[in-house]
């Protein structure tokens, strides 16, 4: 009897508290800017572009992407000669915003993480490269980002894409990647199929 009463009160309370744990969000496509506002630059100088992920919660969902114009012209974001690389500014150590270190890559003010022009870690505590955004050109001259992906590089320097994990969590630690999936399950974004770089 006591157990039944406890259950009637305890189960709803627990479920209410823990419900957000299983939530996943969907990334809604966002307009970043006109294509010609992201000029190519001989040195590494990506352009910062702000966006709001959820217009209903503008105060808590602003984001910043760094758009690097590679000077090439392919509008397929997965191609080797893709026109843009769109980096997330979220440091993969613990989520602070990184800044561009012109000509070098990116640097994080919080704990000194550094990245090269590919977003690969070169120094400090981050455990994986910067996330990237899937992008596309809409209406012939608008750059939109349509999905966020976590990335890593294989031995040949080829980009591998993974479902998004929060900062500080590995996408592919040494050893079988099942470890990454069991120890750090992907619980953030509701994705489609994971893309493959060409």
């Amino acid at each position: 009897m006591g157990a039944a009463i406890g259950g009637i009160i305890g189960v709803p309370i627990t479920a209410y508290m823990l419900a957000p744990v299983t939530d996943e969000v969907k990334f809604e496509p966002v307009f970043l800017g006109k294509v010609d506002t992201f000029p190519a630059d001989p040195s590494f100088k990506p352009t910062a572009a702000t966006y709001v992920e959820d217009p209903n919660n503008a105060a808590t969902s602003p984001g910043l992407a760094f758009v690097q114009n590679t000077g090439k012209s392919n509008t397929d974001w997965l191609a080797q000669d893709a026109m843009f690389i769109v980096f997330s500014n979220r440091c993969m150590h613990l989520g602070c915003p990184v800044a561009v270190a012109q000509g070098v890559g990116f640097a994080c003010p919080c704990h000194g993480g550094q990245y090269n022009k590919e977003g690969q870690r070169t120094a400090g505590p981050p455990i994986r490269p910067l996330d990237r955004f899937q992008w596309e050109i809409r209406n012939s001259d608008e750059l939109w980002i349509t999905q966020r992906w976590s990335v890593d590089f294989n031995g040949d320097g080829k980009v591998l894409y993974f479902p998004v994990k929060m900062p500080g969590q590995p996408v592919a630690p040494p050893g079988p990647s099942v470890v990454a999936d069991v120890l750090y399950p992907n619980v953030t974004y509701d994705h489609g199929a994971v893309p493959q770089a060409k």
């Binding site: 508290m17 823990l18 957000p20 744990v21 299983t22 939530d23 996943e24 969000v25 992920e53 959820d54 919660n57 105060a59 808590t60 969902s61 613990l94 989520g95 602070c96 915003p97 919080c110 994990k165 929060m166 900062p167 500080g168 969590q169 069991v182 120890l183 750090y184 399950p185 992907n186 619980v187 953030t188 974004y189």
Partner: protein, 237 residues
């Protein structure tokens, strides 16, 4: 014959008797306040200092809650209102802010005193354990309170703190989402932190303090280490 008018002292004693007969509270208070204790020093005052700071935090916190708006759009503005415009708001907020640091500092000193006096040993293990829970809860108060200021530092410090939780294997990603009330920092995060900070955790701490104090009274105060214990002060009164 005129009715005798009781003097003030009689009146107090009669009222006390009246309450005593119906509740027993005066005896309880007397037993709590007038206990036999071994010779003590300043180090033994750290625990009651902590209790005092906790009460100040609860009071000033309740006052701040009257003007605080736990929403992403209103939090910072309401803090500015409290600090800049409300009568003595700067003082109340300052007391709460500095009291928070003071509570953590006193907690470490109190814990150090208990440790170096060996006061955690038999029969006071449970006192130490409940104290440890109060310690963890106080840390959680510090974490959840930090976000409520809702300025850049508060926001990014909380992002980092949540992501630190996320790096724990297996449970980490879920703990992060529990704290954020969703997969990313959102509108519900601040109200969740607020509810934890001003209702759940303080309630927990108050309950733990009650148990902690009960054990202190029941088991008595630990004397200086190495000091011979006389019989009548060994355990309680």
């Amino acid at each position: 014959m005129p009715i005798p008018v009781p003097d003030a002292k009689q009146l107090v004693l009669q009222t006390e008797d009246w309450i005593e007969y119906r509740s027993g509270f005066p005896t309880l208070v007397r037993k709590f306040l007038f206990r036999k204790v071994p010779p003590t020093g300043w180090f033994h005052t750290l625990g009651s200092s902590l209790l005092t700071v906790f009460i100040i935090q609860a009071l000033t916190g309740s006052l701040l809650a009257m003007s605080y708006d736990p929403s992403p759009n209103g939090a910072y503005e309401s803090i500015r209102y409290i600090t800049d415009q409300q009568t003595l708001g700067w003082l109340i907020r300052g007391m709460h802010k500095w009291g928070a640091s003071m509570m953590v500092i006193l907690l470490f000193l109190h814990m150090g005193r208990v440790f170096f006096y060996g006061a955690y040993k038999y029969p006071r293990e449970l006192t130490w354990l409940t104290g440890s829970l109060i310690f963890l809860s106080t840390m959680a108060m510090g974490l959840t309170g930090y976000l409520l200021v809702w300025d850049e530092r508060a926001y990014w410090a909380s992002v980092v703190a949540v992501n630190i939780n996320g790096t724990a294997p297996v449970l980490g990603p879920f703990i992060s989402k529990f704290l954020l009330a969703g997969p990313v920092f959102g509108a519900q995060t601040i109200s969740r932190f607020y509810a934890l900070h001003m209702l759940l955790i303080p309630g927990l701490i108050a309950g733990l303090i009650f148990v902690h104090l009960w054990l202190v009274v029941k088991l008595g105060v630990t004397p200086w280490p190495g000091r011979p214990i006389e019989h009548e002060e060994a355990v309680g009164d």
